[in-house]
């Protein structure tokens, strides 16, 4: 991520243009580790066969050897140290793919297997993916930022295509025929037009062939890239509907104990003293105190809870700021730093002059609250020591980073720590860290037995991290014909992603100002982009109103970007923006934008009950385009899911806190979207086969909140500038 280190302005400029700009609050990872396995170790471990590895671009592999086979990949050379993925075809015909990416509900176990199946011409069901195991899979920074589709999907396609070519070359040599006459079909190589064929497994018997392909090989030009774009169901769907799949919290080991942690009454509390407890012998309790860390492990969860409740501790607490002071606090506590941690600024033209000279000018402030990811599966870990070697099964988006965390916390070398990540119950950017894994490891060491720790919902709501809150000041100037001439936008704390405007404005000043902040904050599905789009797209509506123009026409007048125009037009068309008129008490709203290589426009119809002030979203239309479509059904699922989740943050999700305590750490007090909140959601997919695919886990969320706010404005004349907009209905907003 060397681009992160450039001069600030260049960074911001690059951010708006690049599809995969790193999110500020994504925990950044150190440089890629060296992978130690030797070529012969691979075969010892995997058995004979054909191995294709994808080398990261830092290493120039096979370039200088000159002895490349017709397939165009390095052959029999030493393996590169930095690898992103590999694929092995064994003599038994088993195809195994290894990637450090993890499955968190975004369905990449299926979409990656699909990519391999298509290129390798191999039945999908016979491809095994080993994911996110720090001992077996290549290093990976983490599964976030919607990067899996743009990177890993293409890399695996290339790996699988290279493997296919190698199989064909093997068959050509075996039969002494021209490779041109051969083709790979459904797990066999055959001589075209004849009945002669051979199974992959047979072909690779006794072989120990390796091929290395560089990850940055010029991609197959997107125009020729054949994406089948077929919809296929989850490869292991049956395990989920039968309850067989074992999530991180379902892992067990013989002799396993259950852990519980004693939590401080408020953030940053330090443990002053704790009574020497006496436990029921039958409960087999281990008690640990280490600094301000205290916890127990016991034979059952029940026994652990009893033991925990018997502890009496004295804590030292610090006064802290509360919800009510939050936004004033953020604005008055800028962080004065340089480099990546400092302010980012982009300026062009003469903002102050153009603003003053504009026919209409407007200033507004928008805010976003802290919210919680609240994945349905809370953090969970099972830790096991064997001597000084530690194995932890845990739910995380970053197994390799958690390995580092464990090694540091437990003072053991990283080589002695293995982290495995069973497909987990979602994360949405909320599980980048390894708190639970470290706690389980600490208890397991003391107990001298495997310990499982599953956080309670309250713990997950309190001790995980939050989507940053923020304040955004916007000013804009337009000519009376609706032309945008000046734009000023300052985001305090919530993040720089998508902070730049995609509308044309000759004069702009755009600032991201980091601040001090009261709660532990981190990644969230499209976190800063959601806040920045909310402010920008709400403000565009306010400007349209000032210019007395239709909100869509006003946007299009100031928008040149073709891809964005296309999604706005597609959403409006499907929605009937120019045809339908809202019923009394209803309003239409539109919002959209660009982030992480995806373009989205969202139209919303909101219904407001005048009496109760209750806001119901009547329907949503989302138009989305992220390049070539890999799997349309899954893409739609992701888009619908993002919008359902977005309803919560837009309408009612909000963390209440006071003096270091979370006041609503339960689903009964923190409202999340439910069945009845969800309107019909119509998705329009634009397929751009000429553009390599980008991920879609996040961007589809960003147009929703402003579209809702704009619809509520049209219905009621009331402008809502804080997320969530109606935690207690409109009358108290």
């Amino acid at each position: 991520m060397s681009a992160d280190r450039g001069p600030v302005d260049a960074r911001l400029a690059a951010a708006s243009e690049s599809a995969t700009e790193p999110e500020r609050y994504e925990f950044r990872a150190p440089a890629v580790h060296h992978f130690e396995l030797q070529r012969r170790d691979f075969f010892k471990f995997l058995g004979a066969g054909v191995l294709v590895v994808c080398a990261l671009k830092q290493v120039a592999v096979g370039q200088e050897s000159g002895a490349r086979p017709p397939g165009g990949f390095g052959f029999g050379e030493p393996l590169p140290k930095e690898i992103s993925a590999w694929l092995h075809i064994g003599e038994n015909g088993v195809v195994t793919v290894y990637t450090g990416k993890v499955e968190i509900g975004q369905n990449i176990r299926t979409s990656l297997a699909q990519a391999v199946a298509e290129e390798l011409r191999y039945p999908l069901g016979k491809i095994e993916l080993t994911m996110g195991d720090t001992q077996l899979t290549p290093y990976d920074m983490g599964t976030f930022g919607s990067r899996t589709t743009p990177t890993m999907n293409l890399q695996l396609r290339k790996v699988a295509a290279a493997a296919r070519e190698q199989l064909i070359a093997l068959a050509a040599a075996k039969w002494n025929v021209d490779a041109q006459k051969l083709k790979a079909v459904n797990g066999r190589v055959e001589i075209a037009g004849t009945r002669k064929s051979i199974a992959y497994g047979e072909l690779v018997a006794g072989q120990q062939l390796t091929a290395v392909i560089p990850a940055d090989d010029p991609l197959i030009p997107p125009a020729q890239w054949t994406v089948e774009g077929r919809s296929i169901s989850k490869v292991d769907g049956r395990d989920f509907v039968t309850g067989k799949h074992r999530y991180p919290s379902d892992q067990t080991l013989p002799g396993m104990l259950h852990g519980k942690i004693l939590r401080a009454p408020s953030f940053g509390g330090t443990l002053v003293s704790i009574n020497a407890p006496s436990f029921d012998l039958a409960d087999n309790v281990t008690f640990v105190r280490d600094g301000s860390f205290a916890g127990v492990a016991a034979a059952s969860e029940d026994a652990a809870i009893r033991a925990l409740n018997s502890l009496q501790a004295k804590w030292n607490e610090q006064p802290q700021i509360s919800n009510s002071d939050l936004f004033a606090y953020l604005k008055s506590n800028p962080v004065d730093a340089t480099g990546f941690d400092g302010a980012q600024k982009y300026e062009t033209g003469s903002v102050d002059k153009d603003l003053a000279a504009a026919d209409h000018q407007l200033h507004q402030t928008y805010t976003v609250s802290y919210i919680q990811h609240a994945p349905l599966e809370p953090r969970a870990a099972l830790a096991q020591w064997s001597g000084n070697t530690l194995t932890v099964w845990t739910g995380t988006q970053r197994p390799f980073a958690v390995r580092t965390e464990l090694a540091q916390a437990m003072h053991v070398p990283e080589e002695q720590v293995r982290v495995l990540m069973p497909d987990m119950g979602a994360a949405y950017g909320g599980k980048h860290t390894g708190e639970c894994a470290v706690e389980a490891a600490r208890l397991a060491r003391a107990a001298n037995a495997p310990v499982k720790l599953v956080w309670t919902r309250e713990e997950e709501f309190t001790w995980a991290y939050f989507r940053p809150a923020g304040v955004i000041d916007v000013a804009g100037g337009i000519r009376s014909d609706g032309t945008l001439v000046a734009w000023e936008f300052t985001n305090y704390n919530s993040g720089a992603a998508a902070v730049r405007t995609f509308y044309e404005a000759p004069s702009q000043r755009i600032v991201f100002q980091p601040t001090r902040y009261p709660l532990r904050q981190g990644s969230y599905r499209a976190l800063a982009a959601t806040a920045n789009h909310f402010a920008r797209e709400s403000f565009m509506d306010e400007l349209a109103d000032a210019a007395n123009m239709d909100p869509l026409a006003f946007r299009l007048k100031n928008l040149k970007n073709d891809r964005l125009r296309a999604v706005f037009e597609a959403a409006a068309e499907k929605f009937g923006w120019n045809r339908a008129k809202p019923a009394p008490g209803h309003g239409f709203g539109i919002g959209g934008g660009f982030e992480k290589g995806g373009n989205v426009a969202t139209c919303v119809e909101a219904a407001v009950d005048r009496e109760s002030g209750f806001v119901k979203i009547a329907r949503i239309v989302v138009a989305f385009e992220c390049g070539a479509i890999v799997n349309p059904a899954n893409l739609k699922n992701q888009i619908v899911g993002a919008n359902v989740m977005g309803l919560g943050g837009a309408l009612f999700e909000k963390i209440d806190f006071a003096n270091g305590r979370i006041l609503n750490p339960k689903f009964s007090e923190y409202r999340v979207p439910r069945f009845s909140d969800v309107p019909p959601i119509d998705v329009v997919l634009l397929d751009r086969k000429d553009i390599p695919p980008a991920g879609a886990g996040e961007t589809p969320i960003v147009g929703l909140a402003p579209a809702i706010g704009n619809a509520i404005f049209q219905a009621t004349g009331k402008r809502l500038r804080s997320l969530p907009m109606v935690p207690n209905g409109l009358n108290r907003a």
């Binding site: 769907g237 509907v241 039968t242 029940d302 119950g425 949405y428 699922n637 689903f667």
Partner: protein, 157 residues
């Protein structure tokens, strides 16, 4: 304190040693290794822990194991019969009504009980019956479609 409790789960009788006040959820998961039933909140708010007790949907997180003694308990693991999935399970697969699928067992159990009581429901009735189950991944529209599909299958057969 701990005593021996007879639990009938998925047609099998298990004597378990547990404090009768312990949650049914923890006993199912930790003692019987039936981990298909999930923890999501512990306060009857999310439905991830739903099981059937004598055919009725119950939140196992707030059900004391002692009160379930001697009753017929069905968990997600007990729906499949002789290798054949329950129509609701089939429908969830057919509609791909899951993302992370952590909510799926609770959704399926709730739907199974509901469709038994109301084999041809309206969309509103389904929505109402499922309102207590949270899908944080937001797969609600597909889950609705899956329950509808199962209902149609059920009335056809």
């Amino acid at each position: 304190m701990a005593s021996v409790i007879k639990l009938h789960v998925n047609g099998t009788l298990y004597p378990v040693t547990a404090d009768p006040r312990a949650s049914l959820l923890s006993v199912l998961r930790d003692q019987l290794d039936l981990t298909g039933t999930k923890y999501g909140c512990g306060e009857a708010q999310c439905g991830a822990c739903t099981v059937l007790i004598d055919g009725h949907p119950r939140r196992s997180c707030i059900t004391r194991v002692g009160t379930a003694a001697g009753r017929q308990i069905t968990t997600i693991e007990g729906l499949e019969q002789h290798g054949k999935l329950h129509p609701v399970q089939e429908a969830f697969l057919a509609e791909e009504a899951m993302q992370c699928a952590y909510c799926t067992s609770g959704m399926i159990m709730t739907a199974v009980a509901f469709l038994k009581a109301n084999p041809s429901p309206t969309e509103e009735e389904i929505e109402h019956a499922m309102e207590g189950n949270i899908c944080r991944c937001g797969t609600y529209p597909r889950i609705l479609a899956a329950v509808q599909r199962a209902a149609q299958k059920g009335t056809q057969s």
